[in-house]
């Protein structure tokens, strides 16, 4: 399954190479043009119909880079994207895309004072232990400052329909977009797939992609949070995993274009696609950034709910992923009718 390969691929913001190469290989046969831009976005075109649609999914994931190499041969890390310090200690990491294994060690519980035991360990106090004994040994491995570091998580099936992996934000979106591009053609559309870079550090790649492609509308495909667990205030649950793709109402990066939003809802309703709304108005997506390009571009976001995003391992229900693909396909058929053509 493509999601498995995508999740296992490594690509923090600015180092999306593996994801880009994987997608290029998977999509080459299915699209009419495929190219990259100065930012590293992977852009594809399928069809050359009158309505120009950009579907966006970001390739990058949250993770780390090497901030310093200590004389003793440990690595100090810097975060790339938003990460909670509490989910980091005691994890395995891969250093560089060569996946050199390392562990985020912390001082043994036994040696901690009662005060230390109650305190969250900040990343600045954590080190990656590669087993090296000196800086020279680290350098001999070809590790340099700035090199990417990943959660060492391998995709697996928890059940027939529930999968676990890293980077579902936004490899879930990449998988949805790839499936749409690999599927049927839409004669009424010039369908652009924008696999963008640097979403996690500020919705960056989508700005350049939307400017360059200048589409009539944009739909960002995302992996979003689902916090529907025990003890969580219902107002904080965001979405419910397993209850279908989530259509955004609003987020910190903007208010979805009303027409695009309504057409998405109509596509879901008319075709009996189980869906939900994202009940949280914080966070940002590429749609918000794309909407401000040029003289404005109508945009909305559709997300696959994932529990535990922005940690080393998230869960995703395949019903939601497949629901998102079906929703987008029906949506595109509606868009083909020309309402958005400028």
């Amino acid at each position: 399954m493509l999601l498995e390969k995508l999740s296992n691929a490594c690509g923090v913001s600015g180092w999306e190479d593996e994801v880009r190469d994987l997608l290029r290989r998977e999509l080459q046969r299915h699209v009419d043009a495929i190219w990259t831009d100065p930012l590293g976005n992977l852009l594809v075109r399928k069809g050359s119909g009158p309505v120009k649609v950009m579907l966006d999914a970001h390739m990058d994931e949250v993770g780390f880079c090497v901030g310093a190499i200590t004389p003793e041969g440990y690595l100090k890390l810097k975060k790339i994207g938003g990460l909670d310090d509490r989910v980091l200690p005691g994890r395995e990491v891969w250093v560089t895309q060569r996946r050199i294994p390392g562990v985020l060690g912390v001082k043994a519980w036994h040696l901690c004072s009662s005060e230390e035991r109650r305190k969250v360990i900040p990343l600045s106090e954590m080190y990656v232990d590669l087993g090296c004994r000196s800086r020279a040994e680290v350098e001999a491995l070809g590790i340099e400052l700035g090199d990417p570091v990943y959660f060492a998580t391998t995709f697996e099936y928890f059940s027939d329909r529930v999968v676990k992996g890293k980077a579902f934000d936004d490899r879930a979106g990449c998988a949805v977009l790839a499936a749409v591009l690999q599927g049927e053609a839409y004669p009424g559309l010039t369908l652009y797939g924008a696999f963008t870079v640097q979403e996690e550090v500020g919705l960056r790649g989508a700005q350049a992609a939307a400017y360059q492609l200048n589409p009539d509308l944009v739909v960002a495909l995302e992996g979003t949070g689902s916090a529907a667990g025990p003890g969580v205030d219902p107002a904080d649950t965001i979405t419910n995993m397993g209850e279908g793709p989530a259509i955004s109402l609003m987020d910190a990066s903007g208010i979805p274009n009303r027409k695009v939003f309504e057409l998405l809802v109509a596509a879901a309703r008319e075709n009996g696609i189980r869906h939900q709304f994202r009940r949280f108005t914080g966070g940002g997506t590429d749609a918000g950034a794309a909407a401000l390009q040029r003289a404005g571009i109508p945009a909305c976001t559709v997300s696959v709910p994932c529990r535990y995003i922005h940690t080393g391992a998230a869960l995703l229900h395949l019903d939601d992923l497949e629901g998102a693909v079906a929703l987008i396909r029906h949506f595109l058929r509606k868009v083909e009718k020309g309402e958005f053509r400028r």
């Binding site: 600015g14 880009r20 990259t36 100065p38 960056r204």
Partner: protein, 377 residues
Amino acid sequence: MDLASHLENLVAVSSITGREAAVAAYLQSAWAPLVDECRVDALGNYIGLKRGEGSETTLQDLPRPEPGNLPGASGSRRPGPVRVMAAAHIDSIGGMVTAIEPGGFLRFTTVGGVDRRLLMAQEVEVHGRRVVPGLVGSKPPHVTTAQERNRLVPVEELYIDTGLPEEEVRALVPLGAPVLPRFRFRRLQNGRCSSRYLDNRAGVAALWVALQELQRLRHRADFYAVGTVGEEFGGLPGAIAATFAIEPDIAIAVDVTFAKHPGSEEDSFPLGEGPTIGVGPNCTPRLTRLLREIAEDLGIGYALEVLPGNSGTDAWGMQVVRGGVATGIVSIPLRYMHTPVETVDLADIRAAGRLLAHLVSRVDAALVEELSCCWKS
């Protein structure tokens, strides 16, 4: 003119964010012999053009019109010489007068990331109808309690005392008048200098060095030396607007970074051992590599500066302009950032300038093509 004198001239000119015109005017005259053409744009950015060999580019057509190409194919670079832009911001942090109190005392607010710990009793100059010197007021230690002495006074409670009668102050100082640390330029030992505003006049001086070098070096690329407004505060409008207008193939932000000193070891770089070259999402990897190669070829020392997200430089804005721009970051180590005693080593400025100049002389259309298409393993 030597580098230290040029730097001294640069820091003498006032320039809080929003009031950079004097710096742009200084560059227009001081750099005139070094560039083929220059202008100050609508926002106040200085744009100097040093044409490449055989280039007929002019600044007349800025901002450039919309390219009409249909995306869908690579290798369709627009015709004309390669454009390299290097931007150093010409604005600086400071303050702004917000009210005149009875007695002629001035209230003020900060512009940009001023270090609030060192405002009290600081010597300042208020740029009203003339430059008015002043002191930030404070109570003498004799009448403050130990507790008070441990409290940082918020900016709203501070005031500037010009010693002038209220009427005169009102006549001299309009609301909104800039407040600057008082000008002083000090030459220290070993080619090191200290002054206000070395963030980022050090970067501006590096562009000057680059222009000097390019008088001797052959280059086919057009070089745009840009002094940008609005970097310290307000979302990088200057860098974004200039990049939009110039449409560069390569954009380098030249700024300052943290230099090591006691109490500042992590994420800091030694003074006098060369500039830093940025690595991270804001820095196109192929350009980072090229800058490193050039530094190594020239025997210029450098350090890698890891920037995991927003670099806090003009490059952050420049990278995502139009369809995206290949960006790099070259920074000059500087001690005591955002204080009136910022300290740099002239050797680092020279090295940064040389690095830039050689980058300009080395890039060609093939490299530019690669910058878009290099995203293959």
